[in-house]
């Protein structure tokens, strides 16, 4: 029997419409808007000014702390202005506007497509390269990778897990990456193992991607310390804690980090970015984005420069469908609806999903019927209906004691609720409040 995590989980319709579409390179945009805060932690500080000439891969915003990341230019051209611009949240965020002129790459970058599998650097040099390249978790959480790879004092990693689960419906960017860049990925895994000083790595892939599993097994066969673990299809298997449980069987206690059980998880796209940063000197300035939707003409996987507006991706995939009711940045389960198409692709953008009106609209909210489906699907073993009620009534002490902070916001509860209750909306609100209370208490 295939492995999976033990409690909860749902199985939404997969809808992997673009799974058979090879990664295409999106034509260069005319201008880009690169936000300085594309990661969890302090936003980077812009080091370019209006009128500066920049090259592709040039550092344009410097990391401003330990939990922060560098930002590099994704295009060559002139800096138009450093100002606020559109963001998924609707609140303007600071960033750098660049007008594109030609495509001149920084000389240090090796832009040849040849595989470079020779690992010459030691762990410290690898970590430095990852940090310089501004790599963050590309699965969506955008946590700076160099921070993740340095365990806190007294903790030691013993296994590296690569997240090739891609459990979100519709999204296929990691799937295509595994098929088209398998060799590079394996080198990336070896680099990460060396940086972490661990002897074994496992790549977890759900068995709805049999082509990716067989291809990776074929190539990883030469490396006895890298194993491939096919997993049963279940959402949210791509969650760090769920993946660790599924692959290693280890359970992380409430409030603890994955490193407490000796595991470090990185995503497929991140692993590829690590390969490019270390072996090709290429900073993180482009990523693969799935543009998809049931009524979209041509669902595709685009290799996109960071800062391109999502409107251009939609145009390239056949234009906005007439019956589109909602555009989602990310997947249907955890993504966020956007309010306009000017928002840029950032490091955390894994997909753009256009939902038809009929599916986008939420049902009428009805009273809770105590069916406890939300409890049975919660992968963290929480009681979502209760968390929602205490958040609604603003009983924050109870919310904290019911472990609201353990919620991974996977949305399985809202997905499964037959009364259409906005469970996650309120839980997220409660998490925000309880998080603030806990931080204030510590100070």
């Amino acid at each position: 029997m295939l492995k999976s995590f033990k409690i909860g989980g749902v199985h939404p319709a997969e809808n992997k419409l673009s799974a058979q579409k090879a990664i295409e390179v999106l034509p260069l945009p005319k201008s880009v808007f690169i936000p300085v805060g594309q990661h969890i932690g302090a936003p980077a500080e812009a080091i370019v000014q209006k009128g500066d000439q920049v090259k592709v891969g040039q550092l344009i915003a410097k990391s401003s702390g330990f939990v922060s990341a560098n930002i590099h230019s994704s295009v060559s051209g002139t800096v138009k202005k450093v100002e606020t611009g559109p963001d998924t949240s609707g609140y303007p965020k600071k960033g750098i506007y660049i007008d594109v002129e030609g495509d001149i790459w920084d000389e240090k970058i090796d832009s040849s497509p040849e595989l470079n599998s020779e690992i010459t650097l030691d762990a410290i040099a690898i970590l430095a390269k990852i940090q310089d390249a501004g790599i963050v978790g590309l699965g969506g959480a955008t946590f700076p990778t160099h921070v993740k790879l340095v365990p806190p004092k007294g903790m030691k990693a013993d296994v590296l897990l690569i997240n090739g689960v891609e459990c979100e419906p519709y999204l296929t960017s990691d799937h295509r990456m595994m098929l088209e860049h398998t060799e590079e990925l394996i080198v990336g895994v070896q680099l990460l193992m060396k940086a972490l000083n661990v002897t074994k790595a496992a790549i977890g892939i759900e068995n709805n991607k049999p082509d990716a599993i067989s291809k990776i097994i074929k190539i990883a066969y030469a490396h006895s310390n890298i194993s491939v673990v096919p997993l049963k299809v279940k959402y949210p298997q791509g969650g760090e804690k769920q993946l660790i449980k599924a692959v290693t069987g280890r359970e992380i206690s409430s409030g603890a980090l994955p490193i407490s059980v000796g595991a470090v998880v990185t995503n497929i796209a991140t692993t590829f970015a690590v390969y490019e940063a270390v072996q090709k000197n290429k900073p993180l300035f482009e990523r693969v984005v799935t543009v998809t939707g049931k009524s979209l003409k041509n669902p595709s996987n685009f290799k996109t420069r960071i800062g391109t507006s999502i409107g251009e991706l939609i145009e390239a995939a056949g234009g906005l469908p007439e019956n589109c009711g909602k555009i989602i940045n990310g997947g249907p389960m955890m993504g966020k609806a956007v309010t306009n198409t000017e928002i840029p692709v950032t490091k955390g953008t894994s997909g753009i999903l256009m939902m038809p009106e009929t599916e986008a609209k939420r049902g009428e909210i009805m009273p809770c019927i105590r069916c406890s489906r939300c409890v049975s699907v919660c992968p963290m073993g929480l009681e979502p209906f209760l968390l929602m009620t205490v958040s609604e009534k603003q009983i924050w002490e109870r919310a904290e004691s019911e472990r609201i902070m353990d919620c991974i916001e996977c949305g399985s509860c809202s997905y499964t609720c037959p009364a259409n209750r906005p469970l996650l909306d309120y839980i997220r609100l409660g998490k925000g409040k309880v998080g603030t209370i806990m931080r204030n208490r510590k100070q």
């Binding site: 998924t88 609707g90 609140y91 909210i365 609604e392 906005p422 997220r428 609100l429």
Partner: protein, 308 residues
């Protein structure tokens, strides 16, 4: 048979008397002295338990009044000066007089002035909406219209106007407890001095964007043009972050700032309709049409609805 009944009654009576004696002494031993004035003060308070004074309820407030021995920073907004002078009499100290206040909503972005750019489909709660994104219009500072202020009000004093999509305060019912001020995630509601006959002048906008940006998202947004600041003779208006603010303590309710506002962001409430008189001519010349201004009608409508 009868002896059993007699014995039972006797035993129970003895146990009862003994317990009473024990309890009497225990009660004497563990007696907690409570200032009798606390009860008196509590009785003098409105008993709304709204928390507007900053304490958990009326009892806690009464406790604090007696405990502190002075009323410097203690004030019951519901009872107002009358209640507080009553409390002061009980305690034999001097009461602090405060101007009565009332809540005002500082957003005038009706559907007509502030077109919607998207539809919010989540839980009907401003707190939830604000935690997700900036709002369903182009203005990130404006009212979200989900009615958290309405739910928070214990006095039925604030209601959504279905036509404008904005909350409206009923001045007669509002006790300035501040519950709606806390509930609004956009900090749109402010407690302002209750002028004579409930007359109020305030800038009904919180948009801190630059003029052009603000105007683009809402036609009645304050654009920070400084016109009202120049017009005010009493230094009551200050401009900060592209936004004007009228200090209700300094404002003399002369209404001179209202017509000069190019976006009609300044609202006057509960005033009689303006007459164009000879003495006002100078103002009229410089100002735009006053009587026909779109917001004038809203302001009057508001005034009417609160009078009814």
């Amino acid at each position: 048979m009868s002896t059993i009944i007699i014995y039972t009654i006797l035993t129970l009576s003895i146990i009862g008397v003994l317990s009473a004696i024990i309890l009497y002494f225990v009660a004497q031993k563990f007696k907690v002295y409570e200032d009798p004035r606390i009860d008196l003060v509590e009785a003098a308070l409105p008993g709304a338990n709204c928390g507007g004074c900053g304490y958990a309820g009326c009892r806690a407030f009464a406790d604090a009044c007696v405990g502190k021995g002075e009323l410097a920073d203690l004030f019951c907004p519901v009872g107002g000066n009358d209640t507080m002078s009553g409390v002061a009499d009980i305690l034999g100290i001097e009461a602090i007089k405060k101007d009565p206040r009332t809540a005002v909503v500082r957003c005038n972005g009706t559907c007509e002035h502030r077109p919607k750019t998207n539809i919010f489909d989540g839980a009907m709660s401003c707190a939830v909406a604000a935690s997700l994104y900036s709002g369903d219009t182009g203005c990130q500072y404006g009212c979200l219209g989900c009615g958290d202020c309405v739910t928070s009000c214990d006095f039925d004093a604030i209601h959504m106007n279905p036509e404008t999509g904005l909350p409206e305060v009923d001045d007669d019912k509002c006790v300035a407890c501040g519950a709606c001020v806390k509930a609004c995630p956009k900090t749109l509601i402010e407690l302002r001095k209750k002028g004579p006959k409930d007359r109020k002048i305030f800038v009904s906008c919180r948009n801190m964007d630059k003029g052009a940006v603000a105007r683009k998202s809402c036609s009645v947004a304050c654009i920070g043009c400084n016109k009202c600041e120049k017009e005010c003779k009493y230094d009551a208006i200050t401009i900060a972050n592209n936004l004007a603010y009228i200090d209700s303590d300094k404002c003399k309710l002369c209404r001179k700032c209202v017509p000069v506002c190019p976006t009609n962001a300044i609202i006057e409430l509960n005033f009689p309709p303006r007459k164009i008189t000879v003495s006002d001519e100078a103002t009229v010349e410089t100002a735009k049409p006053i009587v026909k201004a779109p917001d004038q009608t809203t302001a009057e409508a508001k005034a009417e609805s609160s009078e009814n």
